[in-house]
Chain length 202, copies 2
């Protein structure tokens, strides 16, 4: 009993929520199973270790976030407007999380980078891949904008990493102050980092 | 025995190092005392709780870092050059840490913001005060640069927070990749965020 894909999904959902609230180190498998409402035996049927669970939570979250980033950054809007939409979506996600649980949980990948990256190599590598994928997606849009003469950066990949670093830094403050207003600066700061002017709003 | 200021200092040093390596949640008082080489009774003579110890570690680190920031940002160099010196000092500190322990530990305040800010109000408030103090110090330099017509930002305090957010975001990447080279972008990105040009090097 409990060894169904339903149980696996329950464990992943509980783990995601607990990691967002309290981080990874503070959690035990027993507590995750209790929150998920599944017997502890189920855990080891689906996951070899707590680290394997963390990797599964990271993958599931990135699957979902990547779809959103690809939808927005691959959309029909002008390139720079797509970056604005990404920041607005990020702010909306954090606000929704805050409304549902009272606290801004921040970026799962940023949280785990600072908590775990010098503890487990597997998690560090996975998080590196995710941030590289994010920078690639943003770099593609910056390259489009550069072809149109809208930005002046010499290195689109380095500029993209700076934009993502800025996103992570402001999300850190949003979490620390439990206030999304800091995220309102992302768009203007992105334009500044790219040496761009705001495109005319349609 | 052990209830001397030497024991307190040993506990603080051990806790600082362990928190940098593994975060706060994963630590127990017994391990901290063992690393410090002091009996567990000493711990509760000096600290009411693990949270009280965390606050003491934060305060001690900020005392030291604040002196460095004040020395650099209150120095005799041109205002924008002082910001460059701050980034260079940050990179040098992370490189020294990496050389001594093999891994970049990042920013203690950023690490604890993402790990602990939605768990303990006392730590959250202390970290907020520290980041506000950092932004104030940077804002003072930006205001000087603005008076000299070297930067164009409308709001020096918001600009300072963006500069500090950028610093935190790039330190996150330095820690994740265990590589300080990402910090080499801080100066150019700061100038971009401030709408400034690099001052002529003396």
């Amino acid at each position: 009993m409990g060894r169904t894909s339903d149980a696996k999904e329950k464990i992943l959902t509980a783990a995601h929520s607990l990691i967002e609230q309290r981080g990874y180190s503070a959690l035990g498998v027993a507590e995750i199973c209790k929150t998920a409402g599944v017997p502890k035996g189920s855990f080891y049927y689906f996951f070899d270790s707590k680290e394997a669970l963390a990797l599964a939570v990271i993958d599931e979250h990135w699957d979902s976030e990547r779809r959103e980033w690809v939808r927005i950054l691959g959309g029909d809007a002008e390139p720079l407007d797509r970056l604005r939409q990404l920041f607005e979506a990020t702010e909306a996600t954090q606000r929704t999380g805050q409304e549902s649980c009272g606290a801004i949980s921040g970026c799962l990948f940023g949280n785990l980078s600072l908590e775990m990256s010098n503890q487990t190599e597997a998690v560090r590598e996975r998080l590196q891949e995710i941030f590289e994928a994010q920078a690639e997606l943003v770099a593609g849009v910056i390259a489009e904008a550069r072809e149109r003469g809208e930005v002046t950066v010499p290195d689109t990949r380095a500029a993209a990493q700076s934009v993502v670093a800025q996103l992570e830094g402001q999300i850190l403050f949003a979490k620390l102050y439990n206030n999304t207003s800091t995220l309102g600066t992302l768009w203007a700061n992105c334009l500044a980092l790219l040496g761009a002017k705001a495109p005319a709003r349609v």
